[in-house]
Amino acid sequence: MQWETVIGLEVHVQLATRSKIFSGASTAFGAEPNSQACAVDLGLPGVLPVLNEAAVAMAVQFGLGIHAEIPEVSVFDRKNYFYPDLPKGYQTSQMYHPIVGPGEVEITLEDGATKRIRVHHAHLEEDAGKSLHEDFHGMTGIDLNRAGTPLLEIVSEPDMRSAKEAAAYLKAIHSIVTYLGISDGNMAEGSMRCDVNVSVRPRGQANFGTRAEIKNVNSFRFVERAIAFEVERQIELLEDGGEVVQETRLFDPERDETRSMRTKEQANDYRYFPCPDLLPVVLDRAYVDHLRDTLPELPADKRARFQDELGLSAYDAGVLSASREMAEYFEAVKEACCDAKLAANWVQGELSGALNREGLPIQDSPVSATQLGGLIARVMDDTINGKAAKQVFQALWNGEGGGDANSADEVIEAKGLKQVTDTGAIEAMIDQVIADSPAQVAQYRDAEPEKRGKMIGYFVGQVMKASRGTANPQQVNALLKEKLDALC
């Protein structure tokens, strides 16, 4: 039987507010346990929450970024359950009236095709603390630093049909929130996690199959692997005549499998009700309009502009707009050298290669965008040839040259890499090479004319070597051909 996979994602994005969603405590990562939990975060008797306006603004910006409806009124509800790292015995969330209504996210697939994934809604909520099981013999430690950190939970429709689409969707969300600057998107620190709903159905069937929810998957790669495992598990189960049970599962990246956590029967009744300590959030139109007007350009718009205005290929535009940092770097290079295509080639070629070798993110590149732009400008005006340009790039990478746009010029000057275009000088070098290579000249002369093209490479190499790489290769080629052919 042909099976179709149906996937929906609930992505939890930690918002980059300085303080928590309902208290003034800091949200900075990595502090000593419980050093960033105030009376409100601890849920002490008598404390009350006060909504952080920055979290509201960020949620609305996200909504605007996915062209979602922004309801005028949203309401916080309490989700009641007992857990040691949930200090109040309830999580303040938004069940019935979320801050962001239906919207959509465009994803780009590997073949360059795009697909729209509908977002059901996105709501604000507070994070819980962390249970620490190491270092406490027979006991569990509770760290409430994370308790009260603002989260935006983005709930998709079940619109994805493969693990690849799910990963692409997650990447698109990552790119939107980092473009907007509303999250650092740091998955290793838990700034983005997702719950994956997976089901399978016979291709052509209209109804969805029974789904399993895989909790707390925290990397793009794990999302793909967890789905791949889960799809295989469900299909196997169904083909063996079994049934998928609705349940919550956990992904174990070490064993590359998902395991049952609890079934629907064991599920909590969360007893949601409107939080009486918080007023409904009422957004006036002017506030939303202001946020809309000040929204930065988002990845999809940028990609379109890179294609339409800069004439880049769909592939290049996609790569260069994938992250805010990449796009900013590319645009700065383009600005400095005034050629989008060359800038695109260098950023994706030499620069990305070097960054990958060193495992560096583009924002930590030792070669700044203005330096690279300055270098490309010298290639464009023929000051240096391509080979010398690579030498200059390497020098810049190693920290040579000043820090600014003139860095490339300084390196060219210091290393004497300026291209030699003086015909007389090049001819003199050619004459010398021909004189020094009688055997090769003889071979050339005896060769079939159609094979001579390849043989000219030797002479070019010798001339370039003699010029220490600075001779203009096109001129060398042309003049060599002329002189050698004259000998035949």
């Binding site: 008598g46 009350l48 006060v50 509770i142 007893r271 949601y272 300590d277």
Partner: protein
Amino acid sequence: MHDKTLTELAAGLATGEFSSRELTQALLARIERLDGDLNSFISVTAEQALAAADRADAARAAGNAGPLTGVPLALKDIFCTEGVKTSAGSRMLDNFIAPYDATVVEKLKAAGTVSLGKTNMDEFAMGSSNENSFFGPVKNPWDRDAVPGGSSGGSAAAVAAGLVPAAMGTDTGGSIRQPAAFCGITGLKPTYGRVSRYGIIAYASSLDQAGPMARTAEDCARLLTAIAGHDLRDSTSVARGVPDYTEELDAPLAGLKIGLPREYFGEGLDPAVEGAVREAIRVYESLGATVREVSLPHTHYAIPAYYVIAPAEASSNLSRYDGVRFGHRCEAPADLTDLYKRSRAEGFGEEVKRRILMGTHTLSEGFFDAYYKKAQQVRRLIRQDFLDAFDEVDVLMGPASPTPAFDLGAKKDPVSMYLQDIYTIAINLAGIPGISVPAGFVGGRPAEGRPVGLQILGTHFAEARLLNVAHQFQQATDWHLRRPALAEETL
């Protein structure tokens, strides 16, 4: 000194008739002598009180005294008080030393008042007789066989017994007004949002409101002026200016339109209580007020609606008492579930457990719409009843309670206890302010009988008007000046 009102004591402090230290010492001695029997205090904070009194005296000497500087009072044990046990009347919090001050406490400290301690109360403010306290019942100073009312029973009894001139209470369904009525003192529940709830241990968040309990409306006006106002730490507190509530006390009542809700004079009302209330109304007529009957047609839905909404909120508010971070923790828990179950089973009393169960049930999947949603709809109708009535009249009047204080142990079944709040509970659902003022005595046993409270209701933020109306009554009557025999004892 103990028979003086707060206003008189403030005047005595201002003229130097006595110092705050002298006053504080005298009242601490009185508490020491009389409260063993009354049990109105859970904690007496003598040391902190004397230090605060000294600071108040020093401030006065330096010319920095405000109107309440050096005035002693007490706080219901539901207000978090830094460095002081704050128990909410529960075993669960018997070991809880609050690490911060409630906004009300902060404001009272800033005003220079001197807290003598924390008063007894029904556990987590759930009760109408103060019999639900882990620290034992409070006795009514007028008759030690009687309850003081609840949940702010300790505050009411302490004021009535002359242990303090005033005390802070909280009122979720009548917890200031009913004990004020039972103990023959004046108690004001302000408009929801008038006083910050920050630092007040929550029972039912959408209904809880703090207010003053004292001898007179004038005393309450002074205290409300000190504690009211918007608080950035309480989103439900209202950003609205705070007047000096004493300013309008003397406004004449000629032309005041009083409404008597038909539903507050019906079946279940003790005829003697009704007699005292009708007599009070006649006093108002003699002061130039006009009286007419009005209707609050949804009144009989108030108790059921309250007992859906309040327990629902309570079941969630009390989830934090899980034995993990603070409060009671059972001995040697076997595992997490055992820790939760035994800590809560041991820490909470019967009534609290009953309300947690009710609230948990009504919020459950499949019941939410039928209970909680419906109760919220009823709540809107009740609120509208009041708004409609206030289109017609300035204030509403009626009894604060259908009976005078009943005997300790008299009400065994919870529903008969819940019905005690029939005249007070709708006011919390509507969010409007209400005040109870002494309006006579009934029963005649022992000598004086038991006090009756007249309840006066106004529209949202009409506190100044309510205090004016109450004050004028107290200018024309002397019920509020009567003292129980106990309180007449001198040292």
